[in-house]
């Protein structure tokens, strides 16, 4: 019990009727007593964030160490099972990066890839989440859709490339379709999983507060599944990039996957690494976006 006002009462001579108005006065939250100087504030901030600072410092060091190892391996052209003879050095990659950011072509590749991800992923979320919610709630829909989904799910998105090219009139559409497929199944499966874990006691609680089917869906099932939905979105985003890059390499004309493959064909080794790093950064950025959205949508979980 964290309300001292309640516990302080001598229980034995407390008449039950008088108890409530008095006993239930909640303690008003008292603000920290003295205004503290900048120094102590900084110290306190440091103490609170010590763990995070430490993690950041170690993270930065390890990235630098990675770059250093990469640099050494390429400058000395190490051949030890793996051949670093043709691998571009970090500085060479940096040079081609500074050139590329002024190159409208490179930027176009990036923009196009992002657009494909955006469309494919959004479609997958818009279809996958509601379908998962409905499947979780209505048995018949589940029984009809689930077998088909289970058969199609294990097929990797890359295996869809020839079929996608046949299905869709333009290359652009088939690439978006493959991106869609890649993210669709993780989103669907995780939403379903979330629905299956909804605590039945919460549903009962809503029912005896007067909630009908539709309100229960909106106020209980949906928010209760949100954490899993976001897991699905995060995984789905990862798979979307995997699928997109594969599709671009095979059938694309533009896009960062195509750029990377083209660099290999044109023997521009620094651009291969640049393409790879760009893909990594874009993938990371999009996962961070989803995580941020998750915090916005689920404020009750963000303090954990």
């Amino acid at each position: 019990m964290s309300s001292p006002a309640l516990v302080r009462h001598p229980e034995d001579n407390m008449p039950a009727t008088a108890a409530l108005p008095e006993a239930v006065r909640a303690p008003t939250v008292t603000s920290p007593a003295t205004p503290s100087s900048f120094g102590t504030l900084a110290l306190r901030w440091y103490r609170l964030n010590q763990g995070r600072l430490r993690a950041t410092a170690i993270g930065v060091t390890s990235l630098l160490a990675f770059l250093l190892v990469w640099h050494l391996l390429t400058t000395y052209r190490v051949v030890f099972f793996v051949r670093f003879v043709n691998v571009p050095a970090p500085l060479a990659v940096y040079a081609s990066f500074t050139k590329a950011i002024h190159d409208p072509h490179f930027l176009m590749h990036i923009v196009l890839s992002c657009r494909r991800i955006f469309i494919g992923f959004s479609l997958a979320a818009v279809v996958g989440v509601p379908l998962g919610l409905i499947m979780g709630r209505f048995k018949l829909v589940h029984e009809v859709v689930f077998p088909v989904a289970e058969v199609l799910r294990p097929i990797p998105a890359i295996a869809w490339v020839p079929m996608a090219i046949m299905l869709w009139p333009t290359n652009e559409q088939s690439i978006v379709f493959i991106t869609f497929l890649g993210s669709f199944f993780p989103i669907l499966v995780n939403t379903l999983h979330g629905m299956s874990l909804v605590d039945p006691v919460l549903v009962r609680a809503a029912q005896c507060l007067g909630a009908r089917e539709r309100s229960i869906f909106r106020e209980v099932y949906f928010p209760a599944s949100l954490p899993h939905i976001f897991t699905g979105l995060t995984v789905g985003m990862g798979v979307a990039w995997v699928s997109l890059i594969a599709a671009e390499m095979i059938s694309g004309q533009y896009g960062i996957g195509y750029f990377t493959w083209e660099a290999y064909s044109l023997v521009q080794y620094a651009d291969i690494a640049l393409g790879m790093i760009a893909i990594g950064v874009l993938g990371l950025g999009s996962s961070l976006l989803i995580r941020g959205a998750g915090h916005l949508v689920m404020p009750w979980r963000s303090t954990r």
Binding site: M1, S2, S3, A5, L6, V7, E11, D12, N13, M14, P15, A16, T17, A18, A19, L20, A23, V24, R25, A26, P27, T28, V29, D199, V201, L202, R204, A205, A206, Q207, C208, L209, G210, A211, R212, S215, E219, V220, P223, A224, L226, M298, P299, W300, T303
Partner: protein, 290 residues
């Protein structure tokens, strides 16, 4: 809130010829059989009984979550056939919505009723004030202690102005200190709102301290073994728990329950060849009871 503070007591529960069996692979499991109970308007009634005797089953049928196999349940003359906001319920597992703040939890029933936002916010604040929780209105349930969660649960169930409050071992997970305070708060709310309460508990002291009447159930299949009026005067105080009157009631109820618990475990005890054990049981030996 004036409507929930109405002056006429309400909520007459009537359970007649009630039985309920669950379907299972081995055939139907008779959980409760041949049971009649009633709760008068404004009355506080507890149900005690050995574990697994069907207390929750009975309560869930009154709430409308379970359909009786035979018999009927009525509240104020109307037959119960499904959960409704008329019958508020408090569960042992706190059951607050984790994605709603304390105030939003309390508002939920009013929202379902279509009350406009500003109005229900005001109502929720008033109610939270009564329970000493106004400082926590913006907190999410996860951050509250068990006692506070259960207070919110009670306030939430009362917010819609139900005729009946059903509680299934609501304080079972709380420590002794908190329990006592929660009992006081519940008593208070009940007296103010003048609704009837059906309260399931394991704790005999709690049942006596809170109730006007206590039903004691038999071991499974549960039925009513005894109905014990509690003539202790109100307001009740902690000191009463030492009074001879209280202790006599306690002794009586205790032996009733022990009898049933032993009956429930009788099979096991026999199987383990423990008949030789002579447990004192108000005059009977264990062998007489089994």
């Amino acid at each position: 809130m004036s409507e929930t503070l109405a002056s006429e007591p309400k909520g007459h529960i009537e359970v007649t010829n009630f039985s309920l069996s669950y379907d299972s692979i081995e055939g139907p499991v008779q959980a409760v059989t041949d049971t009649q109970i009633h709760v008068n308007p404004g009355e506080f009634v507890s149900i005690v009984g050995p574990s697994g005797c069907g207390k929750s089953t009975l309560l869930n049928a009154v709430a409308g979550f379970l359909k009786p196999t035979t018999g009927i349940v009525t509240v104020d003359g109307e037959r119960v056939n499904g959960p409704s906001a008329e019958r508020g319920m408090v569960f042992q597992q706190y059951s607050l919505f984790p994605w709603k703040t304390v105030r939003e939890n309390v508002e939920f029933g009013l929202k379902m009723r279509g009350m406009p936002r500003s109005q229900r916010e005001r109502a929720a604040r008033t109610l939270l004030g009564l329970a000493g929780l106004e400082a926590f209105e913006k907190h999410y349930p996860e951050k509250l202690s068990g006692g506070m969660k259960q207070r919110v649960g009670i306030v939430r169930a009362l917010a819609t102005g139900p005729k009946v409050l059903l509680l299934d071992e609501p304080f079972g997970a709380l420590d002794a200190q908190t329990r006592v305070i929660m009992q006081q708060i519940l008593t208070n709310m009940w007296q103010r709102l003048k609704i009837s309460v059906l309260f399931v508990t394991h704790d005999i002291d709690e049942a006596i301290f809170l109730s006007d009447r206590v039903y004691c159930m038999t071991a499974r299949p549960g039925s009513i073994k005894a109905e014990i009026p509690i003539p202790l005067e109100r307001p009740r105080q902690q000191s009463m728990m030492m009074s001879s009157e209280f202790l006599a009631l306690r002794r009586g109820l205790m032996s009733l329950i022990r009898e049933e618990s032993l009956k429930a475990m009788g099979g096991e005890i026999n199987d383990m060849g423990m008949q030789g054990l002579n447990i004192e049981l108000h005059g009977h030996s264990l062998a007489d009871v089994i």
